[in-house]
Symmetry: C2
Subunit: 192 residues, 2 copies
């Protein structure tokens, strides 16, 4: 009994699903969603492609699970974010190129027509901009030192994070992602 008595079928099934989602994250990082085959994901967890479909009935269902996984990492309540934690987050991200690559690839694909992650990203970015505006408001009030409102600074903050990720993924030697991000935060904090 490889799993021990305490682990019932429900838990084991959930673990299997989690294992599949992890494999999907990897394969998507390597090939994107369109390029990721169910067979490649299945192989990574020692299943046939058809065996995988027992857990996720369609490829899109697997993508949905991947996106839900992403949402769980943001589980820190938006109100608890602070500007200095953002710098730490970017530093942390720089140690996890795989995950960053997965979602950078998905974001890129998502702008194409009818992509199954398009709505997810549209909603997510809207939410993230709002959260970032909240973070900036908590730090600076209604005006940043530069004179920008939190609502106008938020899309810039998000853009810098994403844009730096692409540059860094393509050329990690040339791009100091955390350093550049700290530069940007300093810029936001400086008075006009």
């Amino acid at each position: 009994m490889p799993y021990g008595d305490a682990m019932n079928a429900r838990v084991r099934s959930a673990e299997r699903r989690a294992e599949i989602v992890r494999a999907a994250l990897e394969v998507i990082a390597e090939r994107g969603y369109r390029g990721a085959s169910l067979a490649a994901v299945a192989e990574r967890v020692g299943l046939t492609q058809q065996g995988l479909l027992h857990y996720f009935p369609t490829k899109e269902a697997l993508l949905v699970a991947v996106l839900e996984e992403r949402d769980q990492w943001d589980a820190v309540p938006a109100t608890q974010w602070r500007v200095d934690l953002l710098a730490a987050l970017v530093e942390y991200n720089a140690m996890r190129p795989g995950i960053i690559q997965t979602f950078s690839a998905l974001l890129g694909e998502s702008v194409t027509e009818g992509h199954p992650a398009r709505e997810y990203f549209t909603d997510r970015y809207r939410r993230v901009r709002e959260n970032m505006a909240g973070v900036l408001r908590a730090e600076y009030g209604e005006r940043l030192p530069s004179g920008l409102t939190p609502e106008r600074a938020a899309p810039l903050l998000v853009a810098v994070m994403d844009g730096l990720q692409y540059q860094w993924l393509l050329d990690p030697e040339s791009v100091d992602m955390p350093g550049a991000f700290r530069d940007f935060l300093a810029l936001l904090g400086e008075r006009a």
Copy 2:
């Protein structure tokens, strides 16, 4: 004679190729490179898939032509760029969502392993960062008002342009791309 006397075979062939590249740009915008089929591109120019392969012997050759096309737009010599022209460029981009979508989709895909555009984008971004550092140096000298060197501000400038494009493509109603970019330029120009 639908082309007139003056147009010889060489020119006609070059026009056909240009037509195919334009169609490829469109299809890539809609489905990404991996999702773009030669048949879909061919159909758009009234050819069979095999007819298209007469002009571009492989799918990758067509992608190379697409990327070369991109390079031609940057034909403005780097030394002639100025910061205020960047704002105008972003404004212009906001009127051409198709092209922006093509290259945002390609950039996203390019971070995946062995993608045929990966090297292109790595090289391109390195070059663009250098050019942008030059533009900033021409404008501000060795230090921007904030105290940043041109080399450290350049990746931020590039990141903002790219990152705003994704947000804007996903949700053009919510994101004022040119306005946000001008905000960023103002930030760069402000003293610490």
